[in-house]
Point group: C2
Chain length 337, copies 2
């Protein structure tokens, strides 16, 4: 093999990942099959991760595989869908030499195999190309949800409680640690925070449990405040949250308490891949049970209120500090290109 080619790479690294799904057709065809099911709606999403933008050059390929799967499954979870399968489009840098390429593929495929086993999903197709630029990974994920039961961003109602899963800000802090902008942590905190950045946990079980309970949901990828504002904009409402109620990990709390980062940075930082949901107060007990069953905390952090007069400059999301005063959150609201 003078240079690894597309077909030998598929045969060696990707075909084994497709073995468990008939619709993959052994990766031998031009396309893959997803049989129709009248009782269920197929939910589809696509996300791209680029070296140097969404992950760091040299990030371990196994954890990168985990992150790629996670960011997409997080989108499915936000719509209460159970993941089923995925397509993988991968642009491999021509600059990598052969041994580096094969080693990377070996580790990356191992990571995919591990995630497939965890979530019961399979690779069903893809495209493998060479690029003169950085590594680009694009995953299209497929999930199923009972017809009519998918959650939407656009269905939040005035009076809903606002919930968030897990803890917020860990991914942002993990990136700071990896970028050398946050040192002096204990080894445990360093490992915890960097792992949260590199290997976020998609809230798949919790997401499916929210169907029928929550009015609206989204995943937190751009930052808690930005993603809540997306729910508000789509639903024609506004929200008020209490900064003190936002759940933080012990590691994040320590960093905050030491004055090394502001709470504002954590709730606008992004890379959380937690779920945001809004639900009527009557659903509180059922949500608490769903959270316990899924083994993931679900914390009420505020309330959906009537649409603010945004033309007059009122924000879609108001963050209150401990004294009940609006916190000046420089969130921007958009992930800039």
């Amino acid at each position: 093999m003078d240079r690894a080619d597309e077909f030998s790479i598929i045969a060696r690294y990707f075909r084994p990942l497709a073995a468990g799904h008939d619709g993959a057709l052994g990766l031998l065809d031009d396309a893959a099959l997803v049989p129709g099911d009248p009782a269920r709606t197929l939910v589809v999403t696509v996300d791209t991760l680029i070296e140097g933008v969404h992950f760091r050059a040299g990030d371990p390929p196994e954890t990168l595989a985990g992150k790629l799967i996670a960011v997409n499954l997080s989108d499915l979870a936000a719509m209460a869908a159970t993941p089923v399968a995925y397509l993988l489009a991968i642009s491999l840098p021509s600059a990598w030499n052969e041994p580096a390429l094969l080693r990377w593929l070996d580790d990356f495929a191992s990571g995919l195999a591990r995630e497939q086993a965890r979530f019961g999903i399979h690779l069903i197709g893809g495209d493998t190309v060479a690029t003169p630029g950085p590594l680009v990974l694009t995953l299209t994920a497929f999930g199923h949800v009972a017809r009519g039961c998918e959650l939407r961003r656009s269905r939040a109602r005035t009076g809903d409680d606002v919930y968030v899963s897990g803890t917020i800000g860990d991914g942002h802090l993990g990136l700071r640690v990896l970028d050398g902008r946050l040192g002096g942590l204990t080894e445990d905190d360093r490992v915890y925070l960097t792992t949260r950045y590199r290997q976020p946990e998609p809230r798949v079980g919790l997401g499916t449990a929210l169907a029928g309970l929550a009015h609206a949901a989204a995943d937190v990828s751009d930052g808690l405040v930005a993603d809540l504002s997306h729910i508000c904009r789509a639903s024609g409402v506004a929200a008020r949250i209490d900064a003190a109620l936002v759940p933080l990990s012990p590691a994040a709390r320590r960093v905050c308490a030491a004055g090394r980062v502001t709470l504002s940075a954590l709730i606008t930082g992004g890379d959380d891949y937690e779920l945001l949901a809004t639900a009527p107060p009557a659903a509180a007990a059922a949500l608490s049970r769903a959270s316990a069953r899924a083994g993931v905390a679900l914390t009420p952090i505020g309330r959906i209120i009537e649409a603010a007069d945004t033309e007059a400059g009122a924000p879609l999301v108001t963050v209150l500090d401990v004294g009940g005063q609006p916190l000046d959150v420089a969130w921007g609201g958009y992930r800039h290109l």
Copy 2:
């Protein structure tokens, strides 16, 4: 707007493309919906085009949109699927300045709108990110086919005739012209060949008409010989084709006749996006009618034969010259990374 951001780009350029499909949810959600249908199988495919690899820097954005749609719809056509919708993941170079970015997006979205109207498809979701590298376009296409009627690469049978649609080699010659490796053509031939490279025509109507008639099919993207060998490998058979029967356009015939390119280069060149199909001799009349209805030529070029002893060095695909002697085709069979 200090710099175009993801959300304003989606709102301005992409949301209008999603207006006609309920499952797009107005591009407001984390994912899109594809309702299940027990009578039809969903066919899914993904293809990536990279600047400097699959298209040339500076290629007109409208034709690039056409090519991106075409290469994916060609995959669906090869399985006899009717295209329905697509997801678009787009990595935009950070190096582009704002006016260039917006101009490019404007033209690209116009191209997508034109292709959507032609094929009756809609954008239903995607991801827009910035990249330090070249422009990368990844499209996931969805199509429908009546349950059990999809065509596969793996079902060719000994005795089948081998057919190819349209003409072969035009895309390869078009690329040579654009790269400055083939000059001295008439203006008409130059425009014809470069257009075939930049804007291949996916054989959607012909592909759906092949269902029930052809045993196996694939699209010709890697080159006629390579793609036929993929059919042979997947089906456990071999093939013999007559070089003289391979359909060439008048422009390609002129270039060949002038000795400026070999027939061997044309049948191994790739970028054709024509359909290859194998079918029993009894289907010939019906295929001829299907070809006429679709308005696309379908030319018999050879025969499926028993699997050769490839261990002993026999090729999967034998190409015979005018005298019936095997032609030495340096095809490699793989698209190198």
